[in-house]
Each structure stands twice: as structure tokens, then as C-alpha cells.
């Protein structure tokens, strides 16, 4: 890295120690690293004036300019977050066969390795953008806690309501592994809506108008936006069908704004909502329901308000209940 040449090892070491100290602050330590990063960066940005003075003191970074120190701190935080967050996603993209997308694609056969590499690069691009990264927490959590694998396996074992709803792609095998991979790719793609792509927003959404995913209204606006996004992504993500990208975008919309064929988007919407605030909670009470069952139990009451498919919530609740998740 450029900094490695410009700054001495002791300076970089001191920076590492400082970020380590920040992550050890009890209120940050209890949070996942990605959330901790957001809290630390928010703090630094809000208190930059005061911190600039502190950073110049001998106990901190007297030989660095405040801006340099902040830049190095941000870089070190990113390295930590990257190392802790992306491993499950990298592992998925390294080891999973995504060639089934060829059967869904309108653009012919693509080398699977090339497809996965491009998808990986795209995910990295999203992850490097701080604003997008903050919003990727549910995605990271779903991969970290194996949620897609666990729930899809149960859905396919039970062959109940969700199974019937999601197995509508008649051109691919209705086997568990394929659908796990499919839903994971949709989950990875859904964060693209937070990524500022020049031209796409401006074309679809006039300034001041409602934006995805904040709004569930303006179907026409969503369609225009999605079409623009697909045009942009087709070249970036070879071999990923437009329908899958569309599902990723639609997975931000409530169930009543979606069509019958969008069940995978409804399921992804529920999973991402479930893991939006997911924590490795320390639970000292034996009378508590497990975290996922609790969330789904509460979601039953909030399905109308939050826009969840109530039948899906009921099915997922039974799965969580039976497995004590």
C-alpha cells in the first residue's frame, strides 16, 4: 500500500493500537465490527475538530497531520472490517457452481469462473463504499450465520407454502443447493440499490423524489430505476440474468407491492429484515425464546405494517420453532 511506504512502521503500529483501543471500548466491543465501524467513524467525523488537537499530543500521533491520522485510522478500520466480514462471502463465491444461471440467462453461456470473479469484484466495489457497507450488515449476517442455507434446507425438506411459492423457475433444477446459491446471489445483489451509480438515479428518480428502498410506492419509478440498473449491471455482471437483478432490487419492497412471481424477493426481504439488527446476544434467561424465533414471532404481529408476506412468516416461524433457532 502507498501508506506503507510513506509512514514509518511505528506510526502504523500506533494507528493500529489506537483503532484496537477504539474497538475495545465496551459499547463498541459488544457490537458487530461493521456496526462498530459505523459508530467509530460517525464519532470521528462529528468530533474531528477536538480530535485534531488530541491527535497532535505526544500520546497519540504527534508526527502525523490530523487528516493523515484520520485517513490511516479509516484504512485500518476498513482492513479489520474486511477481514472479519467478507470471508463467508468469498468462500461462497470461490466454491459454488453458479452455472445454472446460464439456463436463466438471455445472453448465452458464460464461463462460471469469470461470472463468479466479476460478481466478487462487484461485491467488493459495494463493500468499499462506506455508505453501502454500513447497509450491508444484514447481508454479512445472513452469510455469517448461514441463514440462507439453514432456512432453504428446511423449506425444501418441508415442501410447504414457501417451497411452492419460490420454485417457479422451471428452467432450473428444484434442488436445495441450487436455490441456496440463487437466493445468496439475490441477497448479494440487493445492496446495489444503495450504490450511487451515475446516471441511473438521475434518469429514474428526479431530485427530491422518493428513493429505493425508502419507498414502496411509485411502481413506475421503481421499474424505471430497475431497468436503468439492469442496463448498467449487465456489462458489469456477465452471466447474471436480468430477472435475478430485478429480484434483488425488488427485495426491498413490501409484499403487497410485489407480483406473484416475486416470492424469492419476498423471502429475501424477510431474511434481511430479520438480520438487520441481529446480534450475538448474550441471553442470561432460560425463559427467552431463541433470537430468530423471537423475531419471527414479533414479525407475525408486524407483518401488515412492515410488509412481510404473512404466510411466509408463519412458515419460517414453524421452522425456527422446530429447530430452536
Amino acid at each position: 500500500m502507498v501508506q506503507a511506504r510513506r509512514y514509518s512502521n511505528s506510526e502504523l503500529h500506533r494507528i493500529k493500537e489506537f483503532t484496537g483501543h477504539l474497538f475495545e471500548i465496551p459499547s463498541i466491543k459488544k457490537e458487530p465490527l461493521l456496526i462498530g465501524e459505523r459508530l467509530i467513524i460517525n464519532f470521528i467525523e462529528k468530533n474531528i475538530q477536538e480530535l485534531s488537537v488530541i491527535f497532535k499530543t505526544p500520546g497519540f500521533f504527534p508526527d502525523l497531520g490530523p487528516a493523515e491520522a484520520v485517513e490511516l485510522i479509516f484504512d485500518d478500520i476498513y482492513d479489520r472490517v474486511y477481514a472479519s466480514s467478507l470471508q463467508p462471502i468469498n468462500s461462497f463465491l470461490d466454491n459454488t457452481d453458479l452455472s445454472f444461471f446460464d439456463r436463466l440467462s438471455e445472453t448465452g453461456i458464460v464461463d462460471d469462473m469469470h461470472r463468479r470473479r466479476k460478481l466478487h469484484d462487484f461485491v467488493l466495489t459495494l463493500f468499499r463504499d462506506r455508505e453501502v457497507r454500513y447497509r450491508m450488515y444484514p447481508v454479512i449476517a445472513i452469510f455469517r450465520y448461514n441463514a440462507a442455507d439453514r432456512y432453504m434446507s428446511e423449506i425444501f425438506n418441508r415442501r410447504g407454502y414457501i417451497y411452492k411459492e419460490i420454485t417457479r423457475f422451471d428452467r432450473i433444477n428444484t434442488d436445495t443447493d441450487t436455490y441456496i446459491s440463487l437466493i445468496k446471489v439475490i441477497i448479494l445483489l440487493r445492496s446495489v440499490v444503495y450504490y450511487r451509480i451515475d446516471g441511473v438515479y438521475e434518469e429514474a428518480v428526479p431530485p427530491g423524489a422518493v428513493k429505493i428502498p425508502d419507498a414502496a410506492a411509485e411502481t413506475e419509478c421503481v421499474n424505471r430505476y430497475t431497468d436503468g440498473l439492469i442496463r448498467y449491471l449487465t456489462s458489469k455482471l456477465p452471466g447474471i440474468p436480468a430477472g435475478i437483478i430485478r429480484l434483488g432490487v425488488k427485495s426491498h419492497l413490501p409484499a403487497d407491492k410485489l407480483d406473484e412471481g416475486d416470492s424469492l424477493a419476498k423471502l429475501v426481504f424477510i431474511l434481511c429484515s430479520m438480520f438487520q439488527y441481529y446480534r450475538d446476544a448474550e441471553n442470561p434467561y432460560r425463559v427467552n425464546e431463541p433470537a430468530e424465533k423471537s423475531w419471527l414471532g414479533i414479525a407475525k404481529h408486524n407483518s401488515g405494517y412492515a410488509g412481510y408476506d404473512r404466510d411466509m412468516i408463519d412458515s419460517l416461524y414453524l421452522i425456527a420453532e422446530d429447530n430452536n433457532w
Binding site: 493500537e17 489506537f18 483501543h21 477504539l22 471500548i25 459499547s27 463498541i28 459508530l39 467509530i40 460517525n42 464519532f43 462529528k46 468530533n47 477536538e50 480530535l51 488530541i54 499530543t57 500520546g59 497519540f60 439488527y277 446480534r279 446476544a281 441471553n283 442470561p284 434467561y285 432460560r286 425463559v287 427467552n288 425464546e289 431463541p290 433470537a291 424465533k293 423471537s294 423475531w295 414471532g297 414479533i298 404481529h301 408486524n302 405494517y305 412492515a306
Partner: protein, 378 residues
């Protein structure tokens, strides 16, 4: 040594001494049951005196400290001060000190006991006061911090367990007092029995013109309870030598029965053995409920009450604590579970709706002081 370390040592010392004292209480009875030597029994008795003294000092110190804080009434009523009291001073004053004095003054052969001390000890041992009050110390173990996560569990288990143990203790003391099946009562009966025997022997010797000594020894030689006969003319008949007698017989292990022509030394060890067997049973009757409340009821209470209350408390107070509470069918009509049902069905959904509506807060969990601590760490 810092005050915190001292306090920690003291906190661990008290439970350890309670357990040792309970062990001593049991071994004391066991020793009488299996008829250990007088030395062993004396050592055990002295250990009992030391424990009584320790708990008396503990009570006095705690009382003085509480009084200094003007919390004496609170200590006595709510912090088991009354248990500290009844399990220490009464047994020390009414049993340990008098018996210890007797032990110092008397020797095994003569067994002299002052009438007042004898009366006190007679009543105290009849109602099994030392055994029962010392066993009550088990209740003090409820106060051990760290035994339960929940203060509510500790408090309710302690209250219920204490009530059970104290009720059992009162019943045992009343039963012992009323039935009178204990050492002094048995000794009196035995004394009467041998007095009557002596009178009969004396009458038989006089009426039949027989040699009293010969008649007496021929009759009593096979009596395994008889230790010694002291004739009024200075002659004596002994089944045990002096050293053997002092090895196996302590004051209280035998009685002296006086007649016109002789006095008998009669063993009451068999009565003591039977009494010790009963005392061991009583010990377990008192300990049983205490341990059951400590281990079983506390778990039940924790699972059905305090954990639910704790989970509700966390859910109401902590922003990120949003776990539902399990509600079993058998409890669902109980007040606490109806509250939990409301919490699951209404409060938590509303809490999450509110959270979802809320934008990211402007407050930060990091403080500038926390940042500056980096400098202090070096």
C-alpha cells in the same frame, strides 16, 4: 491487604465455617453412635464450642455494624439476623459454656455436676437445643452471594427454606420436650430401675440372711451395663481398670446409683447411642428441606418466576433486547405470564415498529474520555 480482598476472604470464610460446623454437628452424633473414645468426643465437643463462639462473635459484629448504620432492625428482620442470633448465642450460653465448665472441673471418675448447671443442661439436651440450633446454621448458606444469579430467587428461596427449616426445628424441639425421649429422661429411668434393684437385693439379703456382697456380685456380674460397685465398707468391685474407664467413659456416659449398702456405677452409653441415632436422623430432617429449597426450589423459582421477571425487565429497558418469553400452557393464566403474553404480543411488536421508524440516533456510545484513555495506556 485491600478492603475488597478482606471482604472476599470474609465472604468465603463464613460459608466454609458454616459447612465445617454442620459437619462437626453430624460427626459429634456419629461419634456417640459408634462410641468413639472420650478423647475424640472431647475434641469434637471443643470444636463445637469454638464454632458456637465464632458464630456468636459474627452475630455481635454484624449487629454492631448494623446498629452503627442504624439498620439493626432491618438486619434482624430482613437479613436473617434472627437466624444468626438463635444459631449462636443461645447454644453458646445455654449449652457450650456450662458443659465446657463442667468438663474443666470434673474428672471422669467423680462426674460432679452443680445442680443448676445440671438443670440447665437437662432441659437444653432434652429438647435437643444444641443439635437443632446448630443445624439451623444451614439456613445461613442462603445468604451466600453468587449462589443464584437473581437476587429475587435468593430472597424467596431463603424465605421459603428458612420457614421450612425453622418449622421443622420447632416441631422437633416440642416433640422432644413432650415425649422426653432424650439423654436425661433415659438416665432418670435407668437410675430408678437400678435403685429398685438395689433395694430388692438388700431386702433379699436381709430376709434370707445372705451375704449382701456375694448376692450383689452374683446377680450383677452378668449385667453388661454395670461398671463398678462401691461398698460402704470401702471395698469395691470393678469391671474396668481406672485407665480403661477414663478412656471410654466421659462425664454423662454413666450414672451413679446409691443404695444403703453400696453405690453402683452404671453405663448409659447404650442410651446415648440410641439418642445419637435419633439425632442423626433429626439432623438430616433439618438439612433435607434446606438443601431441597437451595437446589431444587431455587431452580424452579428461577425458571418460572425470576427469569421471566428478569427477561421482562431487560426487554423493557434495553433497546437491543427483543427476545420473546416462552409461555407454557400450564402457567399462562398466572399474572406474571399474562404480563409476559402482553409483552410478547403487544409491547415487543410496538417496540420494533418504533425502532424501525427511528432514524439513526445522533448520540454516540463513544466518549472523548474513552478516546483519551489510549494516551493513559501508553
Amino acid at each position: 491487604m485491600s478492603s475488597m480482598v478482606k471482604r472476599k476472604i470474609f465472604q468465603n470464610l463464613i460459608p466454609a465455617v458454616i459447612i465445617l460446623s454442620l459437619l462437626q454437628n453430624f460427626i459429634n452424633e456419629y461419634a456417640a453412635f459408634v462410641m468413639w473414645s472420650t478423647v475424640a468426643i472431647t475434641v469434637l465437643f471443643c470444636a463445637g464450642v469454638v464454632f458456637d463462639l465464632f458464630f456468636s462473635v459474627e452475630f455481635i459484629v454484624k449487629s454492631l455494624k448494623a446498629a452503627k448504620r442504624k439498620e439493626f432492625i432491618s438486619y434482624m428482620k430482613y437479613k436473617n439476623g434472627w437466624v444468626d442470633l438463635i444459631s449462636s448465642l443461645p447454644v453458646l450460653i445455654l449449652y457450650s459454656v456450662p458443659f465446657f465448665c463442667i468438663l474443666l472441673k470434673s474428672n471422669a471418675q467423680s462426674g460432679t455436676i452443680s445442680p443448676l448447671a445440671f438443670e440447665i443442661l437437662s432441659v437444653v439436651t432434652t429438647i435437643r437445643l444444641p443439635l437443632v440450633l446448630r443445624s439451623i446454621r444451614v439456613v445461613k448458606l442462603y445468604g451466600i452471594t453468587g449462589l443464584h444469579n437473581s437476587e429475587m430467587t435468593r430472597h424467596h428461596t431463603s424465605a421459603a427454606g428458612t420457614m421450612a427449616v425453622i418449622t421443622a426445628a420447632v416441631v422437633i424441639m416440642l416433640w422432644s420436650g413432650i415425649t422426653g425421649f432424650s439423654d436425661p429422661e433415659g438416665n432418670n429411668k435407668r437410675s430408678t430401675e437400678y435403685s429398685r434393684l438395689l433395694v430388692e437385693l438388700e431386702s433379699a439379703a436381709t430376709l434370707n440372711n445372705l451375704d449382701f456382697r456375694e448376692l450383689c456380685e452374683n446377680t450383677l456380674i452378668s449385667d453388661h451395663r454395670l461398671i463398678k460397685i462401691n461398698y460402704n465398707d470401702g471395698k469395691r468391685y470393678e469391671k474396668l481398670s481406672e485407665s480403661e474407664f477414663s478412656k471410654y467413659y466421659n462425664s454423662g456416659d454413666y450414672i451413679k446409683v446409691s443404695g444403703k449398702l453400696c453405690s453402683l456405677t452404671v453405663s448409659v452409653k447404650d442410651l446415648k447411642r440410641e439418642n445419637a441415632r435419633l439425632n442423626m436422623l433429626i439432623f438430616f430432617i433439618l438439612l433435607g428441606p434446606a438443601v431441597a429449597f437451595m437446589l431444587l426450589y431455587s431452580r424452579h423459582f428461577s425458571l418460572t418466576v425470576s427469569d421471566v421477571a428478569g427477561a421482562l425487565n431487560s426487554g423493557f429497558r434495553k433497546r437491543d433486547y427483543n427476545l420473546m418469553i416462552k409461555i407454557k400452557n400450564e402457567y399462562k393464566e398466572e399474572e406474571l405470564y399474562r404480563l409476559a403474553q402482553f409483552y410478547n404480543d403487544v409491547y415487543l411488536p410496538a417496540k420494533l415498529r418504533k425502532r424501525d421508524m427511528k432514524k439513526e440516533g445522533s448520540g454516540s456510545p463513544i466518549t472523548m474520555d474513552a478516546v483519551k484513555e489510549f494516551d493513559e495506556k501508553g
